[in-house]
């Protein structure tokens, strides 16, 4: 018969903990696998990183882009980098939605009564979401390649141009995790997320050059981290980058600005998210 409980004579059935150092990694790995099973069980969840990027890319380039004239290159060459950032910024909402969904089920209580690393739930979420972001970025670039967009630089520069939006996306994942911690349910997380992320993505150089914007809006756009990331990618891909003419510091140094913005957002929001998570799950 299966022994359910610790035998009386044996030491209580304390599971052997393999090294405390590896423990956080194990917990994150186990919980990441759980998140991936969720995606595998409901693959339509991936539509915002598989279908939406293709759709947005085609719509923006062939419908909205048809009215934009750009000095020094085609709109297509300009737009692909912006579309990567636009798609990443809007799809990051999934983090907040996924976290609030989790927090509203009893599953979190099960995890909390287990001897796991406290931040593992959040970190595993961010790992699953950054994997989605890789898919999302790949889909935009593939769509771009199919319709004639090309990077014109070396492989290391291309890789850097691929990595910078992902770093920014990872920072946004933690920022939206904070949002998920303070909203009641998935619906409000989605609603508030949209109100913040949509203007962030649009008031930028992602889809149109900032030169035609009213001065006030243009200042905001030039300092928007989304603009820095898009400009950094354009520079690294050798694509048209009209923002290089802007005087704002981030537009003059887009790669440094993109990295600084991402690191700063991450440095603030990651500890904050862990703090908010503890507060929310402690009563």
């Amino acid at each position: 018969m299966t022994q359910l409980a610790p035998a009386l004579d044996a030491a209580p059935g304390l599971p052997a903990r393999s090294g405390t150092f590896s423990r956080p990694f194990r917990d994150v790995a186990v919980l990441t696998r759980r998140n991936l099973i969720h995606i595998a069980r409901e693959p339509l969840q991936l539509s915002d990183v598989l279908i939406q990027p293709v759709l947005f890319t085609l719509l923006f380039i062939y419908v909205l882009g048809s009215g934009v004239s750009l000095a020094g290159g085609s709109y297509k060459d300009f737009a692909v980098a912006g579309l990567v950032v636009l798609n990443l910024t809007t799809s990051v909402m999934g983090t907040a939605v996924g976290l609030t969904t989790d927090l509203n089920t009893g599953t979190i209580d099960r995890f909390r009564a287990l001897p796991i690393w406290r931040a593992a739930v959040l970190v595993s979420r961010s790992v699953a979401d950054i994997l989605s972001a890789v898919l999302c970025t790949t889909m935009v670039l593939l769509t771009g390649l199919v319709i004639g967009w090309r990077p014109h630089t070396s492989v290391p520069e291309f890789i850097a141009g691929f990595a910078i939006p992902l770093l920014f996306s990872y920072a946004l994942i933690w920022a939206t995790a904070c949002l998920g911690m303070v909203t009641e349910g998935p619906e409000s997380a989605q609603g508030i997320g949209l109100v913040i992320l949509f203007p962030l993505a649009i008031v930028s150089n992602a889809m149109v050059p900032t030169s035609g914007m009213p001065a006030f809006v243009r200042t905001i756009a030039d300092w928007n981290p989304v603009s820095a990331v898009a400009a950094a990618m354009r520079q690294l891909f050798g694509n048209p980058n009209p923002s290089a003419a802007a005087h704002a510091w981030p537009m003059q140094h887009p790669i440094a600005a993109a990295i600084l913005w991402s690191v700063a957002i991450l440095a603030v929001t990651a500890p904050l998210a862990v703090h908010l998570y503890r507060r929310r799950t402690t009563d």
């Binding site: 359910l4 409980a5 009386l8 599971p15 919980l31 696998r33 209580d109 995890f111 287990l114 009563d283």
Partner: protein
Amino acid sequence: MVQTMIEAEGLTKRYGDTQALAGIDLSVPAGTILGVLGPNGAGKSTAVRILTTLARPTSGWAKVAGHDVVAQAGEVRRRIGVTAQDATLDEALTGRQNLRMVAELAGLRRAQGATRATELLERFELTHAADRPVRGYSGGMRRRLDLAASLVARPPVLFLDEPTTGLDPTSRVRMWDVIRELVAQGTTLLLTTQYLDEADALADRIVVIDHGQIIANGTPSELKSAVGGTRLEVTLTDAHHGAVGALAPLVAGRVDVSADGRRLRAAVNAGAGVATAVIRALDAVGAVVDDVAVHPPSLDDVFFALTATGATAAATGQPSTDSADPTDSGGAADAGEPAAPLPRTPAMATGLPVATYPDKIKGAL
């Protein structure tokens, strides 16, 4: 090995204006079952949440397996299994995936976790559904899987919050068997329940919680004897106005009369010939007796006596109608009221002899 596996002193918990726990002391020796009994909202789940590190006490302290639930929460978590009232399973994962995930999070190696999951699925008769998502499981299957998940790491201390609520009678009895088996193997168990028969059948000791306080504490038989020795139930052929008066000299405290006047219940000081004396007394006033029963009180009697809200009415010593009896055709009156409180026996008036909180008991009554 720690001899007292669950210990708490002066535990309180406040949520805003609500005092969920108003000072709880507990002590559960290794290898025994403590039954925590109480109505909805009494504070049972709050107590379990604190003991399982999910909530912090407002004041007081608690130790599980020798470790403080606040300062050494991680150590406590390595030694407990918890089955909460709400299912804590991941709906999208299969039964097997749920168990393996919990196993690995509890610190088992991958292969160990897989073996343990297979063992438990078999033990809880879930093998046929092991690789289906939990979403499609029935209520009973979920309960079993939830319990299995709590047992994955063979915890020495187990908390079960209303483990059989919502189960059909067969599943309930099977759950009881599992619980007995666990304790036989050395597990210490704290079990909350609303079912008196469950506490009676399983628990070594019982605490009754109401309004965040322990209002009684003892073994099932101690609690029963505390309510007033032996219970007398008389059924008359027809209601008789002299019946209560005839019984008065024989009973301790008040006589409860059913709405149709045919059924009388009271506590008696059991002695030789009590049934004969009852029949003679009733016969003397012309009441015709169908049935006389003399039996020890059930835990239901204890529970109602301790938690009844209409306790003040009981102090008048007047006969009252009893609407709690489901067989009582006239029981429509006062359907919203809890069962009429049982009479205060001398034992009750002086506090339960087995209770460790006589002042609190008096307050609650």
